[in-house]
Subunit: 336 residues, 4 copies
Amino acid sequence: MVKVAIIGATGYTAAESILILLRHEQTQITYLTALPEECGHIAEIFPALKGRLDLPVEPVDLNKLSKTADVALCCLPHKVSMQFVPQLLSAGVKVVDFSADYRIHDAALYEQVYQVEHTDKENLSRAVFGLPELFRQRITGADLVANPGCYPTAASLALAPLVKENLIDPADIVVNAVSGVSGAGRKATLPFHFPEMNENLFAYAVGTHRHMPEIEQIVTDFTQTPVQVLFQPHVAGMDRGILESIYCRPTAETSPEKLMQLFKSFYADEPFIRILHEPPKTKNVSYTNFCAIFPTVAKGKIVVFSAIDNLIKGAAGQAVQNMNLICQFPETMGLL
Amino acid sequence: MVKVAIIGATGYTAAESILILLRHEQTQITYLTALPEECGHIAEIFPALKGRLDLPVEPVDLNKLSKTADVALCCLPHKVSMQFVPQLLSAGVKVVDFSADYRIHDAALYEQVYQVEHTDKENLSRAVFGLPELFRQRITGADLVANPGCYPTAASLALAPLVKENLIDPADIVVNAVSGVSGAGRKATLPFHFPEMNENLFAYAVGTHRHMPEIEQIVTDFTQTPVQVLFQPHVAGMDRGILESIYCRPTAETSPEKLMQLFKSFYADEPFIRILHEPPKTKNVSYTNFCAIFPTVAKGKIVVFSAIDNLIKGAAGQAVQNMNLICQFPETMGLL
Amino acid sequence: MVKVAIIGATGYTAAESILILLRHEQTQITYLTALPEECGHIAEIFPALKGRLDLPVEPVDLNKLSKTADVALCCLPHKVSMQFVPQLLSAGVKVVDFSADYRIHDAALYEQVYQVEHTDKENLSRAVFGLPELFRQRITGADLVANPGCYPTAASLALAPLVKENLIDPADIVVNAVSGVSGAGRKATLPFHFPEMNENLFAYAVGTHRHMPEIEQIVTDFTQTPVQVLFQPHVAGMDRGILESIYCRPTAETSPEKLMQLFKSFYADEPFIRILHEPPKTKNVSYTNFCAIFPTVAKGKIVVFSAIDNLIKGAAGQAVQNMNLICQFPETMGLL
Amino acid sequence: MVKVAIIGATGYTAAESILILLRHEQTQITYLTALPEECGHIAEIFPALKGRLDLPVEPVDLNKLSKTADVALCCLPHKVSMQFVPQLLSAGVKVVDFSADYRIHDAALYEQVYQVEHTDKENLSRAVFGLPELFRQRITGADLVANPGCYPTAASLALAPLVKENLIDPADIVVNAVSGVSGAGRKATLPFHFPEMNENLFAYAVGTHRHMPEIEQIVTDFTQTPVQVLFQPHVAGMDRGILESIYCRPTAETSPEKLMQLFKSFYADEPFIRILHEPPKTKNVSYTNFCAIFPTVAKGKIVVFSAIDNLIKGAAGQAVQNMNLICQFPETMGLL
């Protein structure tokens, strides 16, 4: 049994991680931590866990961590994570980090996008980007994995085959994304107050969303082709789910059939990728670690639809998938 | 044209009041006030009003109020309202007050329920309770009307005919109520954060809700019969709407037909009461000032269902109905 | 008082039309018709109208129509409408038609898109396209107005200024649209069964939606520039609202400020257009006849967001706006 | 490995059963059946199962059933089930039946409530009622288990301790229940069409719901005390979840503390019962097999709140719990 700590155990991605790990036959949740003011019994913080996990959430203690855990899922927010990850690593645990702090390889780009100095460049340089379908080999054996953002997961899985095969103009890509509200986290604010957000839909972060450079890096990293993505996120009045509608300019004539063949072959052995013959519905991937993709051609453009559950394949599920790779468990363990 | 001020113009009931008054042919909104830190243009506070109302929200100035308004809709919260109402009245405006501060005739009961000293007992003693279907005559000509709570409106309209006719045991009444989330106001808190409240339903304030004594007072006031109500509120993941399912012990044999006849006759001339032959759906009264009622008999009990829009008949619509009575406008003006 | 008939009074757009007309001081609803099997009292078909409109819905009788109505709002579906409109016109009423049957000027294109012979080419040739902001002068005085589709309304209002001013490549336009479910009509089918559609989001009609040529026609008609639009609709689990996110290739360098100036000036006198400085939220135009537009620049593209209520500005509200023009009422009457 | 067939595999309870069984380490789904016109690959019927279960749904063939399955989860509707269950049993499989057909011991009562002749009285007489918390011993070893209704599950678990201890008047019980829409099944009808049901709440089946006698039978069966329940169901615009608010007349003075002690002790060893100190939220039991109960005293009544997921503890989860008992697996297997 691998012993797992959850660092930052009071948010939605932590709760999802716990639910997944409770079904994972080779792990045991041993330690939960949070900021002192957020501590308490996990079943008080998340009443849905009552009777399922009997652990306090405590301020992190590195000695205790080192004794009780082999792996840490670090669910801290951006900027906070890089203060803790070096300590977690030095306590001897392997880390899957949910924040953006170890995702952007280029520290200068990170600092520009997140408007903060990167204080752990040493670990940044050796962190592995945890999108298993594209970077599986690097992840196996890593001790620090940067778990991808939710939007970049759906976008990159849709774009990688197209860019790899040079089927699209890499400088003319529009990613129109819509997310459920859980993607905004668990902090109560007016825009996400129920009567404001319910029956509502809107765009945000026009031209400036931090996942834009992340998507570009992933695809470029995988294909060695520089890409430019206009990524436009929206939020809809639903709990969970991301749907991305991606519009690309083809470099040559293509057909829905050729695209279908490409995607089916590209993801032939992937347990969590569904290539569909019709547009995916978010509800069909909700509460799963699947990404459903439908590539086609419309009005002279290549259009790809990509759907995930933002909390599972977009966060906690993918983190466990990465943990499985690190621990050399079957990759799907706990996730089906 | 009657000039109307909205005091406390940043909450949901104020926004609804504005929308109704914009359609009211005999009124003009002239003045909007709020706490200094909440001020700004009304269309910034409520973007839905952009292009519809070009007024700033300002800290209240009694001189200005006195010059610009004939009537004030006072949308302040409980306890705050009684600090402002005496000033509003002394500025020479008539007041429809949305808070609980002038609803409970018995100051001692108010103080026990709201856990605060009542600081304006003078006006309390002359305030009129603004449920037009039961107390219309008192309202006409009043200069201070206490606008009823949302739950008490639906409950009292359902109970009044039964108690009046001595058809039910007045000491054995259960009111099971479910409300949409807008009833909880516009302040963002964790329980009403979208991903917490969406797809959720729960009871709250078991045995202790402040609307319990208000319901009892209304019905007793109207019927001269002391009543005891077990009022149990719930909140459901929807924007608006209240449905109350009311269970009573009959004092004698009755029938659905007799009850139907009673309710139809009791509310024969009421423009906002719908007596239905099947259970009301909240959606059919949403965005309206109607109360839909279905009385029947089931398993030896008299069961009455009562539905309103909590923001309209439960707040802003009823306030305008009261204002219409005060101003001697047709009672339905602006409300159909 | 202008007397109005609603032809096809059992769908959502008819219900919205009734609600609007009930607030319109210069009209009276006199006649409601539907297919024989759908008939009944309007308050049984739409319980929300109980106590508000006391009319039966009857099979259409042209004699009666001719005697009771001056104007007909024809809410019939595509293909059915063109069978009735000639009769309505010959009965001497002016018609605002909600279907697509008189929208596409080119009968051959209509027949290809809707896969049916156009059986009323005569009236087609003189029908006026009812988007007042772009074609107001033609509408005033018309006796047959084709009310625009919901998606084309939002898209065309966003695109017209850009194409008119040659700011974008007219052959490279992507319109990503998301609609609430009421846009799909009132017929119960599995995809829109509550537990299927709730908490769901998906694309449909990829490359084939019938509103694509309508958008192209409107913009070309207004600007005399041929345009090519990739229009991609989606449906989200909400009642109402359309949000379109439109991605265009600029023909020259531009800036958010220039775009803002253009849109503000273009729509300076329009009572129902809101030019915003941030992305519109569908909820802020819900239950209104407004279209809210935010034009900007992102990552080298011109991006425009456009939001309407699909049942109001996208159908019933716009129909009343057209009716107001036909009848020479103030254009906003009944709509604010 | 126990081989499991799902009979009637096209509804929501079947889909949930499949999802649970896919996580159950001691079972294998081997056979899926439905009416001929509903057949097809399971992943076409439920796209959420794509890549998770590769089986056709076929018309039932008893020979095949007998060869491929040890246990059948029979998800057929009322009245249909009793035509198939005898055949399933004679094919040598053990049956957990989801319908009402084997729940009501008294055939005459069944026939009155369901308005149909009971055609399998022989098996009715030996069927065991599958509410494990109350009838665990009878279930172990049974070969035909009648899986309880969703509403009766929540109600009976709340009432059993109170009636058993004679704490309440067994003839004065009101059960106010609210369910999510999935409880109404997967057939598309107008009342559950998304734009009708969304943001809506209403009562139905006043005084006549078929679960009323089922609740009475369960509690009477368990306690040997005749009970009379006024059961009033409602449906709210949410996918899943049942919340029951139960109002009882105490037979003697009691206190919240005594009730808490009783419920904690009564359900001390139950893995799926959560006794709470505050009202349960449906969302905290959604997607789980838990029943959350909060007993208390309010205004002289004993009030109990009981929440379950109608598709899990109210159907598929409880069926697997029963199957676990039949097969002598740990009762929680696959359910945590």
